[in-house]
């Protein structure tokens, strides 16, 4: 916010702008991300994001191996929610090869994707508060809850973060016995924690002062710049791919799409809180509807589990997108009929959401720039793919 009382001072003195470099190793940049900033006093006048420090050419790696073998690599895109990444890639390849998913597998997928959304949003809020200077208290509370869900993931998939659990046409293995009850127990406790978390944060005067009217993103710009996920919804556009595409079995669930009114950092925080509550609603319905037994992988795709090299989708292309917690995660896959994809592209929401970073930060103080970056919610594994 431009403070009017500052203006006479800068007029009287001959001031210069200062170019500084934040990152790539900086505690507030969420990873190896660099911001080339020009400051006038403390006010940001120009900001150029510089990225690529974590670049490993994920796309080329995937083009040089079988379709199934890039599944574990998608885990490493957005390492906070590997289940969603698996989901997007599986959807794209299923579209390409025309594979149907059995019902139970679909329910398992949705349950895991929604748990992932909770994991992501709760840790993002924790990190956002870290950026605001509320070091570690909200973050450790958030991580305590995250840990409970990650324990479930470990029990299901074998790994807490690099789950590698989805397969084309289903999932890798059935859920271990008694797991649905454990998810239910977790879910019964979670709203209480969320209430407590909100009591800690939502009405907090300092949080309101620091976040409201900071980094305001208008509706038109958000849409034009291709933003998606909570960023777009905080700006007042209720566009949710789960509702629009009704991919997988999302059409069966009754849930709302929370939208913000102003599009500032506070709205982005609050939209995420509300989304967690909606995720709980979906989980509740999914847990009630899930068939107690059935195939977990389609008959057509099951043989390829043992022999991934024989999986050759017909010539063609497919674009599969899911509503990942960060936004629209799309996978564009082109097949030439061989066991390896000819072209494999990831539409990374974290990367595209960074388009507006400069617009949001200009005119704000340096400390606010960190908060705005935190509210965009980037993961460098995905930005730099």
């Amino acid at each position: 916010m431009k403070n009017k009382t500052d203006t006479p001072l800068t007029e009287d003195f001959d001031t210069q702008t200062l170019q500084i470099n934040v990152g790539p190793q900086h505690p507030a940049t969420h990873g190896v991300f660099r911001m080339d900033l020009t400051l006038d006093g403390e006010t940001v006048v120009r900001l150029k994001p510089v990225m690529g420090y974590l670049h490993r050419n994920h796309e080329q790696i995937a083009e040089n191996m079988t379709y199934a073998a890039s599944m574990p690599y998608t885990d490493r895109l957005d390492y906070f929610n590997s289940m969603s990444n698996n989901f997007g890639y599986a959807l794209a390849v299923e579209k390409l090869a025309g594979i149907e998913v059995p019902e139970r597998a679909d329910y398992i997928r949705v349950i895991l994707a929604e748990l992932t959304r909770i994991v992501n949003h709760i840790s993002v809020i924790g990190f956002l508060l870290n950026d605001l200077g509320a070091f570690f208290t909200p973050l450790t509370y958030a991580f305590r809850e995250r840990e409970k869900i990650l324990d479930l993931f470990e029990e299901i998939a074998g790994s807490r973060m690099m789950c590698n659990y989805f397969r084309f046409g289903g999932v890798k293995r059935d859920l271990p016995p008694g797991l649905l009850e454990r998810i239910r127990t977790m879910m019964d406790v979670f709203p209480r924690f969320l209430d407590e978390f909100e009591a800690l944060l939502t009405d907090n005067d300092i949080l309101c002062l620091r976040c409201q009217n900071v980094g305001v993103l208008g509706r038109e710009l958000a849409l034009n710049a291709g933003l998606s996920g909570p960023m777009l919804r905080a700006s007042g556009l209720g566009y949710d791919i789960r509702k629009v595409d009704r991919y997988s079995i999302y059409g069966r669930f009754d849930f709302k799409v929370p939208v913000g009114s102003k599009g500032d950092v506070y709205d982005r925080y609050y939209v995420r809180v509300l989304e967690m509550r909606e995720s709980l609603k979906i989980l509740d319905q999914a847990l009630r509807q899930i068939p107690s037994s059935g195939d977990i992988i389609s008959r057509k795709a099951a043989p390829f589990l043992k022999a991934p090299r024989n999986f050759k989708p017909p010539v063609g292309e497919a674009y599969g997108r899911v509503e990942s917690p960060k936004g629209e995660l799309g996978f564009y896959v082109v097949s030439d009929g061989s066991p390896q994809p000819w072209r494999y592209h990831v539409r990374a929401p974290s990367l595209i959401n960074l388009t507006v970073l400069e617009d949001l930060c200009i005119g704000h103080k340096l400390a606010d720039a960190m908060v705005i970056l935190g509210s965009i919610d980037i993961v460098l594994g995905e930005v730099d793919h």
Partner: protein
């Protein structure tokens, strides 16, 4: 709407557009028309395309191709897929930054990986690779450089910055230069990495 309908609809809006159906998408035959086609999509009352989701490119050996996935957030329509082709030796495609800001970083990414010059892009630099990186990594003929071997120009830089280099690396660099070779990752099997476990 089906792809044929979209084609006919676009051609009714702008009769000079030449469009061909490829798979489930529309190929803009003359890449110069791309911006006009997108403007028609944007202004069409039946489509109201307002969201450019993904911009990417692909290498088909004879030509390079860019692929665009559009959606309409207002009407919940999509994806409308456009593609444009360009020559491999001098790839040029008009930029869509003026129409959709979401193309900004994605076109830079496509430039970085394929070397397609997006004309009219305000800030066309490499996105992930460093500025003086050579080559276009996602083209099919790209050969990865061997990061364990130095080249003579690396030696010059290291010496300028007074960084010590072992004699072995120096001899290899000079040997490569004498043979007129680059330090490519494809090398004889006998020279495999020390820890590959081969007997």
């Amino acid at each position: 709407m089906r792809t044929e309908e979209i084609r006919d609809h676009l051609q009714s809006l702008d009769s000079s557009l030449r469009l061909r159906i490829v798979l489930e998408s529309l190929l803009v035959e003359n890449p110069e028309d791309l911006a006009r086609a997108v403007r028609a999509l944007k202004s069409s009352p039946r489509l109201k395309i307002d969201f450019l989701s993904s911009v990417t490119a692909a290498d088909y050996l004879d030509f390079l191709e860019t692929v665009y996935h559009f959606y309409s957030v207002e009407l919940r329509i999509g994806p409308v897929v456009l593609r444009a082709r360009t020559r491999r030796d001098d790839p040029k495609i008009p930029s869509l930054c003026g129409l959709f800001r979401s193309a900004e970083l994605q076109e830079r990414e496509a430039y970085d990986m394929f070397g397609i010059r997006f004309e009219g892009h305000p800030d066309l630099r490499r996105l992930f690779m460093w500025d003086n990186f050579e080559g276009w990594p996602l083209r099919k003929d790209y050969v990865q450089e061997d990061s364990d071997v130095l080249e003579s120009q690396d030696l010059a830089w290291l010496e300028k910055n007074s960084i010590h280099v072992s004699q072995e690396l120096k001899t290899r660099a000079l040997d490569l230069q004498a043979r007129g070779l680059r330090a490519d990752a494809q090398r004889p099997a006998a020279e495999g990495p020390a820890n590959s476990g081969a007997p």
